[in-house]
Each structure stands twice: as C-alpha cells, then as structure tokens.
C-alpha cells in the first residue's frame, strides 16, 4: 500500500501550492499516471480520501489520466507501444526496449476555490 504514502505526498504538494494563493478549498486534482507505474487506482482513490480528511483537499476529486507505455528499441530504433517492461521488440524480437513513457506519477493541475 505505497498508495497511502503517495497520497501523503500529493497532499503535501497541494498544500504547498495552495499557500499564499488564498485558496479556500481544493476541488479537484488532476493526475497523470503511467500504465507501468505501480498504482492500483482504487487503492489510490481510497487512500486519498483518508489522507485528505481535515486538509484543504478534503472532498476533492482525484482525476486520473492514464499515460500509455512506450518503448524505444535499442537495436532497431523503433518506437512501440508496450504493455509490460519485459515485452520484446515487435520488429526484431530482442528484449531491448527502453521504456521512455509510462512511468509517470505526476500532478498536472489543481482546481481550487
């Protein structure tokens, strides 16, 4: 359940960003989460509700956009969509894909009142 500590981190960042901006309430937080990032979305939203209680982000909506995973083959230079870290390259069959997208754990924006 690292989702719990990730939510603590989200709240920390949101509080930091709210400071000096006369924010009454954080209404929504928009995240981008890579498909390869080790996140259980239901665990994340559940943890978020717990951690947000009593903070400026209590009751805020956590909106998650999935970022598809992409890899670049070291061998033949192709750029392919992947499902797992250990997928072989669809062109050459080698296990030589470097993950270049899909690890994201990012807060994009927040909507406040």
């Amino acid at each position: 359940m690292h989702e719990l500590s990730l939510c603590k981190n989200i709240i920390d960042i949101v509080e930091e960003q709210s400071r000096n901006r006369s924010v009454k309430k954080v209404k929504a937080i928009y995240l981008e989460i890579g498909e390869l990032a080790l996140i259980e979305k239901s665990a994340l939203t559940f943890s978020f509700e717990l951690v947000a209680k009593g903070t400026i982000a209590e009751g805020a909506i956590l909106s998650i956009t999935d970022v598809p995973a992409k890899g670049l083959c070291d061998y033949c230079g192709v750029f392919v969509t992947i499902k797992q870290r250990f997928d072989p390259c669809v062109h050459c069959g080698n296990f030589s894909l470097k993950v270049i997208q899909g690890d994201e754990l990012r807060i994009k924006t927040m909507e406040v009142e």
Binding site: L105, R106, I107, V112
Partner: protein, 264 residues
C-alpha cells in the same frame, strides 16, 4: 536540528515539512461572492519529488562522508539478515560497517545485527510497506556513521513498494532465493528494473527445488540487461567470496573518485 534535511524532528521521520504555515491561509481568507469562479493552477510536479529531494540530500551526505550506502530489497525471508550476519564478521576488520533495519513492526532483525557488534538503527514503518528517504536521513543521523563506511539499509521485505522510493543509496541490491520461483523477475519487473545487483540466495537448496538459475537470470536481463548477478548460499557459505569482492570493488570505486577530485 538534523544536518541532512534541516528539520527539527529527531524521533519520527514521518512528519512532513510542508505543514508549518498552513494555518495562516485561513486568517487571510476574505469573503467571496457566490459566483466566484474556480481557478485552475498548473502544478506539473512529480508525486515523488519530495522523496527524491530527501534522497538527493542523503546522496550528497553519503558521498561527502565516503559512505557506500546499499539498499537491500527482497520479498520476506529471502535471507537479507542472514547474509548480513555472515558479511559483517567477515569484513568488519577491513571496513566500518553500519546497518539501518527497516521492518513494519518488530526489531528482531536489529537485535540480530546488534549481536555482530556494529552500529544499527531500527526504523519501524508501521503500516508503511517501504522505507522512504526522509526516514533514512534521520536514521543516518542517529547512527553517527563514521567516514568510509559501508552502510547496509535492509528495506522492508516487499518486492513492490520499495522500488518506487529512492533512498539516496549508491546501489540497489535485490535478493531472491531459489525457493521463490524463477519467474520472480517477470512478476515484479519494477524491482529488477531499478536494481543494480541481483543476488540469488539459498543455492544450497537447488537440488531440492525446481529452479533454473540460467532461466532466472535470462528473465531478469530481459528487464534490465545491465543487472549484475551473484549466486550464493548465506547459510552454507557458498559463493560468499564473490559478494565480498563485489563489496570491496564498490568501496574502492568510491575512493578512486575521491583521489581524482583531490588531485585536480
């Protein structure tokens, strides 16, 4: 005040550094009319950025003190503590050694390390399933680690969560035992992706279990072609010399960097 992160917390590292001025904001709130529109702020920040900042602080401290910090990762029971119980007596005449023990509840492992006579600090993570960089920074302060030390950080036994959290270590070492099955790297690819060294432990049991070492290494290399591998048995003293040699090499590298930077 702690020298690494500059905060005042000596006991628990679970506090956060961002809450201090939170209360001010409400006193400044002025009345708004009900039609006020919501505002959208661009944040563009990595969720792990706080941890990563603490990890950078640790890394700077470790490299300044010439501390070789090694993050030991595995599922429960792979033999991390046993390996340390073997390693410490074998090397403590040549190196300063210190240990940070991460466990959810108990301090049994810390007691086992204490018996070897080197400094050890226990971090209880409670419900937390991994160590974070802030906890490690504080634990390091308590250790008053001497210069030129090998610092072993035994992470919580869990192959998922700890892979996300940089502690500022020099190397991540994933320990797998032959009773766990060859497909561990494929099931927990992230851990093997971030690791620098894989130790396959309990090779004394190879004759009793269906575990193909070559195949396991091949799986791990699919995920991480640069992963180094050492096979050993911590209890039956097989292959330990390769592990000691690896440690000595890593330690030496730290010093050669030092010599370079002072020569110019």
């Amino acid at each position: 005040m702690c020298g690494i992160c500059g905060c005042n917390d000596q006991e628990s590292a679970l506090h956060d550094h961002g809450k201090e001025s939170l209360d001010h904001k409400h006193s400044h709130a002025h009345s708004h009319d009900s039609h006020e529109e919501n505002r959208l702020f661009l944040i563009e920040q990595d969720i792990l950025s706080k941890n990563n900042k603490f990890a950078e602080d640790n890394r700077r401290y470790f490299s300044g003190q010439k501390i070789l910090a090694l993050n030991l990762l595995s599922s429960p029971g792979s033999g991390k503590t046993t390996l340390l119980e073997k390693t410490i007596p074998a090397l403590k005449n040549q190196f300063n050694i210190a240990v940070i023990e991460g466990d959810q509840q108990t301090d049994c492992d810390a007691e086992r390390i204490k018996a070897t006579g080197v400094p050890v600090v226990q971090i209880n993570t409670g419900k937390g399933c991994h160590l974070d960089a802030h906890q490690v920074g504080h634990a390091t302060q308590k250790l008053t680690v001497e210069d030129k030390t090998i610092l072993f950080i035994e992470n919580v036994g869990n192959l998922v969560c700890p892979s996300l959290f940089d502690l500022g270590e020099s190397q991540k070492i994933v320990i797998l035992s032959v009773t766990e099955g060859v497909d561990k790297p494929l099931k927990y690819p992230d851990m093997f992706y971030v690791a620098n060294l894989m130790i396959i432990n309990k090779i004394d049991l190879l004759e009793y279990v269906d575990f193909n070492v070559e195949k396991c290494i091949e799986y791990a290399h699919r995920i991480n072609p640069d992963l180094q591998v050492i096979t050993l048995s911590a209890t039956k003293n097989k292959g330990l010399e390769n592990w000691y040699e690896w440690l000595m090499n890593e330690h030496k590298k730290l010093f050669s960097v030092h010599h370079h930077s002072t020569a110019f």
